[in-house]
């Protein structure tokens, strides 16, 4: 399944790159990086269906909750 997902994403990327009239390396690089990110995102939940969603601002939420419970005093 993982192989199939990677193959599909790679095929779409290759096909679209082939359609481009010009391929400046900066654009190609950003495009490939974003495609690699999309592929990783597609593969991770296949490998681990219970994968937790990252919460980059989770610490802030916890801190606010703690402050709220303590009535504003740390």
């Amino acid at each position: 399944m993982v192989g199939l997902v990677i193959l599909v994403y790679a095929a779409v990327a290759a096909f679209e790159l082939w359609l481009w009239a010009e391929r400046p390396w900066q654009k190609v690089l950003l495009y490939l990086v974003l495609f690699a990110g999309a592929t990783t995102l597609a593969v991770l939940p296949v490998l681990n269906p219970d994968l937790k969603v990252p919460e980059p601002l989770g610490f802030l939420e916890k801190l606010l909750k703690r402050l709220w419970q303590k009535g504003g005093s740390v």
Partner: protein, 363 residues
């Protein structure tokens, strides 16, 4: 290439973006019979933020978005900010796709995997985002006629089964539920308008941002207020927060010539959601390319749209989570994206523009 959207088309785009996928969910259900008060409170609370966004845009003196941002904030801060909002817009498009795929699975296609619906939606929004904001705004104008007609017919028919006594007694539980409902509405969908800040490239005049954002937002708030309040009057305050899709349930109770009319509400949901997800993808693409110093955004639309498919399956997995995300009371991330950053943004813009004016007069 500068993309120019006339004021009236921009206003309709804002309206449909706000109404978008919000129409079928039990928005502000925590307010109970005081839902109309929650809507009014949320509108009053959101309006300063909408005015603030329009003000920042008008400070750019008619410049295209990114050159205007660089004039006002400088190159690197604006690029950093664009990257932050790219993430927000992409996440929002994942949420909308997830909402639609869960809705379709619950209502119409229970045996179809959600990823199939999400893939079709991703392809659609990919196409729309590649066409650009001008096409999206024209599409919004054309489809708004359908949406308004459907909503008007639905509203009139709902009146035949509505019970105004459901709104009584007013504020029986005090002001707390009203404010909780208002905060729910601020997060989804009122202050999601912040995404549109990154979509409009240039406006007709310095006053145009006000003419686009303010009437568009107020009309959308009015439509949502009328439709949700009428639904609550049909299904009852207690049941309104129990159903996943209260408007859908309310419309089911209309019985005209033995026809089931709820499918026509699905039409407005489909149009609004499509527009919203396309606008979010467009905003994410524009922000990413600007953050990395490119002027053309179309080449990153495909990877971002294909990232939305797994994102929509991963960030929200079940219908319960969809509902939870639609009616949660103001999480930290929303506060940062929708309130803190725009306010900081506005203060910095005012200071820098005032300084520049002062220096201009001095020199």
């Amino acid at each position: 290439m500068r993309e120019h959207v006339p004021d009236d088309q921009g206003m309709i785009l804002v309206l449909l973006f706000v109404v978008g996928n919000a129409l079928v969910f039990g928005l502000g259900g925590v307010a109970g019979p005081d839902i109309w008060l929650a809507f009014l409170t949320a509108t009053v609370m959101a309006l300063p933020m909408i005015l603030l966004m329009a003000r920042v845009r008008s400070l750019m003196q008619g410049a295209a978005l990114y050159s205007g941002l660089e004039q006002v904030f400088g190159k690197w801060p604006s690029r950093g900010l664009a990257l932050v909002y790219a993430l927000y817009a992409w996440r929002l498009s994942c949420f909308v796709v997830s909402d639609v795929s869960n809705f379709v699975q619950a209502i119409a296609l229970p045996n179809t995997p959600k990823v199939v619906v999400a893939s079709i939606l991703a392809l659609l929004m990919l196409w729309a985002a590649k066409e650009g904001v001008e096409v999206l705004a024209r599409f919004a104008v054309v489809m708004s006629k359908v949406v308004f007609a459907v909503l008007l017919v639905t509203f009139i028919l709902l009146l035949s089964v509505a019970n105004p006594a459901e709104f009584l007694p007013v504020m029986y539980d005090g002001a707390k539920p009203v404010f909780l409902g208002a905060f729910q509405l601020l997060d989804v969908p009122f202050l999601e308008v912040v995404v549109l800040f990154w979509v409009f490239d240039c406006f007709s005049s310095k006053r145009s941002p006000f003419k686009v954002f303010v009437p568009g937002f107020l009309s959308a708030a009015l439509i949502l207020l009328v439709m949700t309040s009428t639904s609550l009057a049909v299904v009852g305050a207690d049941w309104y927060s129990v159903f996943y899709f209260p408007i859908w349930t309310a419309v089911k109770r209309i019985n005209v010539l033995t026809m089931r009319l709820e499918a026509i509400v699905g039409v407005t949901f489909a149009i609004g959601s499509f527009l919203k997800m396309a606008v979010c993808l467009l905003a994410a693409s524009r922000c990413v390319t600007y953050a990395f110093g490119f002027s053309d955004y179309r080449f990153v639309v495909t990877p971002l749209a294909l990232a939305v498919i797994p994102g929509s399956q991963w960030l929200i997995t079940t219908l319960m989570e969809v509902e939870k995300s639609a009616i949660k009371t103001y999480p930290t991330s929303a506060t940062i994206y929708q309130v803190v950053l725009p306010v900081v943004f506005w203060v910095v813009a005012e200071i820098r523009v005032a300084k520049a004016r002062h220096q201009g007069k001095g020199g």
